[in-house]
Amino acid sequence: MAQSVDLSGRELRTSTALPAVEVREVTKVFPGPHGETVVAVEDVTLTIQEGEFFSLLGPSGCGKTTTLRMIAGFELPTRGEIWIHGRPMGSTPPYRRPVNTVFQNYALFPHMTIYENVAFGLEMEGVPKDEIRRRVLEVLELVRLPGMESRRPRQLSGGQQQRVALARALVKQPEVLLLDEPLGALDLKLRKAMQLELKHIQHRVGITFIYVTHDQEEALTMSDRIAVMDRGQVLQVGAPAEIYEAPVNRFVADFIGESNLLEGQIARLEGERALIYVDGVELAAHRHAQEVQLHQAVTFALRPEKISLLATTAEVAPGHVSVTGVVEERVYIGTDTRYMVRIGDQAQLVVRMQNLTHQDADHFQPGDRVQLSWDPAVARVLVE
């Protein structure tokens, strides 16, 4: 997974400060319902820097919530250790950890007003009454909920309850804020708005956010770095662009965004470039410093938007390679048009062409013979 270019786009404060959270070789095993054991998290190691917006991304059941709950202290690791700001947590109970959680179902206290809900955490710390008042009103201002103090949670909409849950955790000024799919219950439009707002709030308060989501788009737009998880394991950690452009394996490539993934064998090796034999055609990709052997079974991976469709007579851009195919299907989706192009007996490539001009959308028709061209440096060889 060696990556020569730094795609993170943001410099992290790694130099002086201790990492906000370290998860060191943590495994969590649960007893299953029938006496068997369930490995929810397996040998996970993560280092989360201070001030970072860090996402745990993966399909449902991959161990995201369990990882978060171990950081919060609701579950103790079976093996391994959680460190927060250089302190090993051991079996420190949740109420003594410098972290706060925004729960997936919000978990607001139904018998308390909004004010009492937000004040609760400060009361537990023994903060003086007038300071509580000042800080509660301030944080309600921050999440844009002023004037709601005397309402009860059930009198608020889902989006407002979400803000209360956020305010209740933020008012404690934790070193780390844990968020478990906080926007999962909101409708799409509200979710998009809240994504931006959360990001904005995180910038203002400067607290480390550890954010759990199964929505790859959400993770890509919000995070400084993402850990992609599957079946209890962390497969890749990196900045959004890194994860998207340089997935380490088939799962990551498939889970993040859309990808053409074709299985084949290495037919030829020319330095960085590998030619992969797929279904009667040879497709060029870079191996990105991975060791591969001739005839080894690999996966050819290429994002649909990295492919250009050209007329068979057109000139291919310098440095690009091309194969020919037949357009099978065309779907217009507004910003771009999606083509399904057959290049072999079975093999198909999905191509996305941006609709820059009015005519772009109906440039190629189903049945047309076309050239597909791409820069082999953006196509990847995935091993295993």
Binding site: P93, A107, F109, P110, G121, M124, R152
Partner: protein, 287 residues
């Protein structure tokens, strides 16, 4: 127009059809006897235990006699003690049951209910077998050498309270269970996340949210406990007289129906006050 009118008429017919049998039943078998008891409580006992239909408030005046006041006070005290102990025992029990996995949880609930399948008298006699001078408890304690002489357990307030708690505990556990089972335990995690330790998260979050179950359980134990007469009769003997015993005694032994009625009505007033407290809190707290 026509249609809605006929539908409304249909509704009314349906209402009377459903309402009448129940109303008749309650009126005839509940309200009427109650009214008779109320009226009797203002009459006088005749020389042979008959009722003389002459208005008087003497029966109520007689209740102010310290002897009866003492009985009321003892009953109240006993019922409160029973309720408190039932709550202290019942809450952890209900909590434990509510947190079990499913097949096991229903089994435990069933175990709580099973004693109801046995006659109450039989169960009270079973307690006597345990508590008698030559009973199981004394035998075991003597066998272990903890005591030399048998303890006098029977015919003490302790025995009565024990019997009452034993008898009414399910009435406490069931509503508590219903409340705790509905309780969202992620709220406890939220409280702990915000810095509350176990005890404080219980006091500030779980207790207020399970209050409806607590109040219901307390009422369901308190009401039968304050009117109990079988348990104090068998386990308390002559030493522990409760309102229930007094009522029974007046109706059956002393054949003083008017005074017995006055005792009953007074008991009803106490119970009504308890129920009123329940509904006041119930309305406030049931969200």
């Amino acid at each position: 127009m026509h249609e809605s009118l006929s539908r409304r008429r249909g509704h009314r017919a349906q209402f009377w059809f459903l309402f009448t049998p129940g109303a008749f039943w309650l009126g005839f078998f509940f309200l009427l006897p109650l009214l008779i008891v109320l009226v009797y409580s203002f009459f006088t006992r005749g020389p042979y235990g008959n009722v003389i239909y002459r208005w008087t408030a003497d029966n109520y005046a007689r209740l102010l006699n310290p002897i009866y006041f003492q009985i009321f006070w003892q009953s109240l005290w006993m019922a409160v003690t029973t309720t408190v102990i039932s709550l202290l025992v019942g809450y952890p029990l209900a909590y434990y049951i509510a947190r079990q996995r499913q097949p096991w949880r229903n089994v435990l609930l069933l175990l709580v209910i099973i004693p109801f399948w046995t006659n109450f008298l039989v169960r009270t006699y079973a307690i006597m077998v345990l508590f008698r001078t030559e009973g199981v408890v004394n035998a075991v304690l003597q066998g272990l050498g903890v005591i030399q002489e048998p303890l006098q357990i029977m015919y003490t307030p302790f025995a009565v309270t024990f019997g009452l708690v034993y008898g009414y505990l399910p009435f406490m556990v069931l509503p508590l269970y219903a409340s705790i089972e509905k309780f969202d335990f992620s709220l406890i995690e939220a409280a702990q996340d915000l810095g509350a330790n176990g005890w404080r998260s219980f006091l500030r979050v779980m207790l207020p949210l399970t209050l409806p179950g607590i109040v219901a359980g307390c009422i369901l134990v308190f009401i039968p406990a304050i009117g109990a007469f079988v348990t104090p009769d068998l386990l308390g003997g002559a030493k522990t007289m409760m309102i229930g015993n007094l009522t029974q005694q007046q109706f059956l032994k002393a054949r003083n129906w008017p005074f017995g009625s006055a005792v009953s009505i007074s008991l009803m007033v106490i119970v009504s006050i308890a129920a009123w407290i329940y509904f006041r809190y119930g309305e406030e707290e049931m969200l």
